[in-house]
Every structure is written in C-alpha cells, then in structure tokens.
C-alpha cells in the first residue's frame, strides 16, 4: 500500500514536471513562431524591395537593347518563378505561411494583370500584403481575437463600434454578420419568406433572369469559389439574385448586386443568410434609387464625394481638376458594390464589418481615405491617361489596413451626418433638374429631326439626315 502511495506521489510529481516542461516548450514555440513570422515578413519586404528595384531598372533602361537589359530580363523571369519552388520548400504548418495562391476567402493573392510589366508589380503587391499580415498577426490581431472570444451576446455599444471598425476575426465573422443583418432586417424577415420567393421564381420566369444568368460566370473570376466548375457557389448566387428580383421588383436585377451577394456568400456560406444580407444592404443601408432604373441616388453620392474631396483634399483635387480627371467613373463602382471590386479581401471585409453596422458613412470615409492614402503618388502623375490607369488598380495596392482605417476614422474628422444629408439633398435637386433639362433637349431635338427628315421613323430619334441620304 505504502509502495503504491509512494509510486503515486512520484507519478504525480512526474506529471507535474512534464506539464511544466510542456508549457515551457509551448511558450518557446510561440516565441519562435513569432520570430519566424517577423523574419518572414522581413524577407517579404526585402524581396519586394528587390523586385521594385528591378522594376525601376527596367523602366530606366527602357527598350535599349544590350547585355544589361538581357540580364535584367533574366532576373525578372527568375523572380517571377520563385513562388513555385518557395511554396514547396516551406510547407511547415505555420498559419502565416508563404504567399499562397489564394487568400482565406478564395481570392487570388497575386492579381492577374495582363500587361507583362504589371506582373512584377502584382508580385510586389502580394509580398507587401503578406508581410503586413505577418506583422499584424501577432501584434494587433491576437489581442483583438482574444477580446472577440470573450464577447458573448452581442449588443450595440460604443465598444462594439470600435471593435467592428478594427475588423472581426475570420472565425467570428459569420456569427457577427448574422447578428448585424438580423439587426437590420428584423422587421422585413418572415419565416419561409426566402423559400416562397424561390418558388415564385420557379413558377414564372423573371425578366431579369437572363441578365442574372449572363453575370453569373462574370462574378469574381479571380475567386476560386466562383471559377471552380464543381463549386456550388454559382448556383447559390443564382438563387439569391433571383429571389431578390422577386423581393424587390422595382430594382429587379442591377449589375453589381451579383458582387454584393457573392461577398455575402463567401462570408456566410449559406444562401438564405446571404439573401438577407443583400436585402439589408439594398433596402436598409443604401437610399432608395441606388440600384433602381435611374441610379439617381448613386449618381448623387458621386457628386457629394466630389464636394467632400474638395474640402478634405484640396491640393489633390486641384491637381486632378487641371487635368480634367473625372473621378466619378472610378468611385461610382466603389459605392455601388461597397469596394468589392477594389480592395483586397482582408481590408474589404474589415470595411464591410463597419459598413454593416454604421452604414453608408463608412463608404464615404473609406473613399476619402483611399485618396488620402495614395495622395502623393497621384500628385506625381502628370498625364490624365496615366492617372486614369493608376486609378484603376491603385486600390489594390493598399495593404496597410491599420493605416487606412486610421485615416478613414480620424484624419477625415469632422464628418457630421448632417453635412452629408445636406449635400445629398442639394445635389439631388440639381441632378434632377439637369436630367429634366436633358430630357427636354432630347425631346426638342427629336421634334426638329422629325420635322426635317422625312425618312425618320418613330423610335429612331437621332437619325442624321446627312447620313440617311443614300
């Protein structure tokens, strides 16, 4: 008996010791992982600097032939091929591994630019993003993650607002979004509603069905969940969009809704929730007329943004104004799909976290912040064509989400809702007047044409008599 007792005591202390050692090892491992992440981030930085250097050299040399440019081409080719070998060599089960082909939500990490010299740029971007992520992973995300884990039942509060602005960790996002959506659509939601809309769609074909079909394969071709032929996502997306066209017949289907629904699907996975997310955005956050036949409200918002830019970034706006750059063609897309085409997925979803809670102001804040973030680069560009081309991809070069967030929610203050409302009302009035005037002009034009040209047929308004004559 005594012997057993001694043995037991001995074993207990053994267990105690082993646990201690195990804990120590775990701590060491954690420290090493952090160090490793840091070094990897450094490595990415260096690699991206090297690539940027190569790119600049390539630009400087231009088309001049010679040994130098030959060597340079080889180096670039090599650099572009790194990834493949690198990925296989580094197969450790680190959560922040090497730059993988797809991010957590299935988007390609290296954007596929068609122009050869932009491929280098794309690689640089991917490396930058990766290094930012590695660094943020330990320092910023861990405390946030811990806070989210202890958060039980969600309730609107000032703290929640801040937490949402900082971005919801991946594993909590579906739950949090479901809550945010329920908060918005509670009064619209009825049990069985989605199923009823679906069967309505089966009974009779919606006029928008064909357009939806055409857009299905053209939704996020850079995301594997939508391009993989065996994926269930395109089918889910079709059903969500069809149900929505019945839910809201005045809108039916507007291009762009496919992207909104697709993002919802990527996060929530389940189609009924994605449908309600779409309803929440279109019917409770955006003003009426945002996706309607005239898109009046979204056009108004472009003018409002223009005014806000003039106020917040006068130097940049003077620069763009001199070159007659019209930003509305670029920003229109940002507003319509809430940056779904523009920002890399981790930043995009962080924006959406706040957007679903706070509403449209978040879009204005980030639109302003994006210009601020890239202000210096834009000021360096002189040619309007160059500027337009830059504007087309510059949102994807943003990889420091903390910095962007800080600009959006601090540097852009003050930002009163009252000002936004006033600007909207004023621009709406003006735009409506303009559209009326245009309609009138068109009508007058039709009349004169009709009076002049005998060959003019109805519904063929702008027949040009000069051209119509054989």
């Amino acid at each position: 008996m005594e012997a057993y007792r001694t043995q037991n005591r001995f074993l207990n202390s053994e267990i105690h010791q082993v646990t201690k050692i195990w804990r120590k090892v775990a701590e060491k491992e954690k420290a090493l992982l952090m160090k490793c992440a840091y070094l990897q981030a450094q490595n990415c930085r260096v690699e991206s600097k090297y690539l940027a250097g190569l790119r600049r050299l390539q630009e400087a040399l231009g088309v001049e032939a010679g040994e130098c440019s030959e060597l340079l081409r080889q180096l670039i080719q090599e650099a572009l091929q790194w990834e493949a070998s690198e990925a296989s060599a580094d197969s450790i089960v680190l959560s922040p591994g090497t730059v993988s082909e797809y991010d957590e939500y299935g988007f390609l990490t290296v954007p596929s630019y068609e122009v050869e010299d932009l491929r280098l740029l794309a690689k640089i971007q991917a490396l930058e993003v990766h290094s930012h992520r590695l660094l943020a992973h330990e320092a910023v995300e861990r405390p946030l993650r811990e806070r989210w884990a202890t958060l039980g039942e969600l309730a609107p509060s000032a703290e929640l607002k801040q937490l949402l602005r900082a971005g919801v960790p991946l594993e909590h996002r579906p739950r949090v979004w479901r809550w945010l959506i329920r908060l918005r659509v509670q009064r619209l939601q009825a049990p069985g509603c989605y199923q009823a809309l679906l069967s309505q769609g089966q009974a009779c074909k919606h006029p928008a069905a064909r357009q939806i079909e055409l857009d299905l394969n053209r939704t996020f071709p850079n995301n594997k969940h939508f391009t993989c032929p065996t994926s269930s996502f395109p089918d889910k997306l079709r059903r969500v969009l069809l149900a929505f066209s019945w839910q809201n017949p005045t809108i039916g289907y507007c291009q762009g809704l496919n992207r909104l629904a697709a993002i919802a699907l990527l996060v929530l996975d389940e189609e009924e929730s994605a449908f309600w997310c779409l309803v929440a955005i279109v019917e409770t956050i955006m003003p009426a007329d945002y996706y309607s036949k005239t898109l009046l409200a979204s056009q108004v918002d472009q003018r409002v943004l223009q005014d806000l830019l003039l106020e917040k970034l006068p130097r940049l706006m003077a620069h763009l104004g001199q070159r007659r750059v019209d930003l509305s063609f670029i920003t229109f897309n940002w507003f319509l799909v809430v940056f779904a085409d523009s920002l890399i997925s981790n930043i995009l979803l962080q924006v959406w976290d706040a957007f679903l809670y706070e509403g449209i102001k978040v879009v204005f804040r980030y639109a302003l912040a994006i210009f601020k973030y890239n202000e210096e680069a834009l000021l360096r560009l002189q040619d309007s064509l160059e500027i337009y081309q830059y504007l087309h991809f510059f949102t994807k070069t943003i990889c420091d989400s903390r910095k962007l967030m800080h600009i959006a929610f601090n540097d852009m203050n003050p930002f009163p809702m009252k000002q936004l409302r006033q600007l909207r009302a004023a621009h709406r009035e003006r735009l409506e007047a303009e559209l009326n005037e245009l309609e009138q002009l068109k009508a007058e034009y039709l009349e004169t044409r009709a009076a002049q040209g005998p060959s003019v047929s109805e519904g063929c308004p702008s027949e040009d008599e000069g051209e119509a004559e054989p």
Binding site: T219, N258, H392, L441, S462, D464
Partner: protein
C-alpha cells in the same frame, strides 16, 4: 503632311450587357482573350498607340457597362469623344435591337448638329453556332445608317483590328477636317486653340503658329 503628327483620340465602346465589349477591347489592345471578364461597372480605360498613314495615334478607349440602367451614367462619356464602337452579339437578337437606342443616345448627347460623328458597328461572337442575327439584316441596318459594319470574333481575333482601325481613321479624318475647316474659314483662332487643347490635336511644325 507633317510626318511627325501626333494625335490623341478618345474612343468609346458601348452596347448591351454581355455582348463582349471588354473582350473585344482586350483582344484589340492586349491580344488576349478570356472566356469571362468581370462585368464592367462604371467605366475603365485602355490605351494603345498605333501608326496610321503618317500619324501616330494615341488611342484612349473607354469601356463601359452595358446594362440598360447604366445608360444615363455612361452617356456622360459621349461628350468629347471622337468616335464610338457600337457592339452587339450575333447570337442575341435583343442586343442587336438595342443598337438603335444606343446610337440615338450617342447622337443626341454628343454634339446634336454633328453630321459625321464616327461610328462602327461590331457584330461579335461569330464563332458561336446559335446565331440569331443574320449577316444581311445587320448589314442592312448599318447601310441604311451609313455606318461601317464588321462581323467579328473577340475569341478568334477575327476582324477586330480592322474594325478599330477603321474607326480610328474615321475619327482622325473628322478631327483633321475640323481643324482644316477652322483654318480655312476665318473663325477666330481662339476656337482652334480650344479644339487643339481639347482633342490633344497637335499640328506640329508650322500649322501651330497661330498661337
């Protein structure tokens, strides 16, 4: 003429949803074709430099979204453009019927008195089997309107270059014509300077001496 002439041209491509506007543009500019591009929302721009006769042309081509409700938004582009590609899909009758409206929009919103605003019509997707718009019908419509018609395939790169170059050359001759007529008539040089600045038309050498 001046061999060093350089001209910037702003062209637009319009037409119904899903007819392949973006594909046509990418085939022309980058010589690439993908089955599915992301739907275009708002507008994007591509550029290409070509040499036509003795002129270097810097083409700025604007790609636009094709859904009906984007038309009022897209129409802001027409102002100041030098030419336009009207695209439809030969396997989609509706897209052909929509040409009338698109054309009406352009003519009404550019310069109403303009008689010779350059356009070309492109019937795309001739590589597909289920054709709905017979060539003769499309040809007939274009002849009536005096617009050059091209049967094209962005996928197989058929006639794409020819169509764009036809538009570019028409846009160029219209622009030169306008500058020439301004030079000939006694309209004040102010207008010329406005025009040259706007269109980026550089006369090069002696012709610019007006300023």
């Amino acid at each position: 003429m001046n061999p060093r002439k350089k001209v910037d041209l702003k062209l637009i491509i319009i037409g119904a949803l899903g007819v392949g506007k973006t594909s046509l543009l990418h085939q022309y500019v980058h010589k690439t074709f993908y089955e599915d591009y992301q739907t275009t929302l708002g507008a994007s721009i591509l550029s290409k430099i070509i040499i036509l006769d003795d002129t270097t042309l810097k083409l700025q081509i604007w790609d636009t979204g094709g859904q009906e409700r984007f038309r009022s938004m897209v129409s802001t582009f027409y102002k100041g453009s030098d030419g336009c590609v009207l695209a439809f899909d030969v396997t989609d009758l509706e897209s052909f019927e929509a040409l009338e409206t698109w054309r009406g929009d352009v003519l009404a919103k550019t310069i109403p008195m303009e008689q010779s605003y350059p356009m070309v019509v492109l019937g795309n997707k001739i590589d597909l089997a289920d054709r709905q718009v017979p060539q003769e019908v499309a040809q007939g419509w274009c002849k009536e309107k005096d617009i050059p018609y091209f049967e094209v395939s962005a996928k197989n790169d058929i006639n794409v270059v020819q169509a764009f170059e036809m538009l570019a050359s028409r846009a160029l001759s219209r622009l030169s014509g306008r500058v020439q007529s301004l030079l000939n008539s006694n309209v004040s040089l102010y207008f010329l300077s406005v025009l040259t600045r706007r269109g980026g038309y550089s006369l090069g050498g002696s012709a610019g001496a007006g300023s």
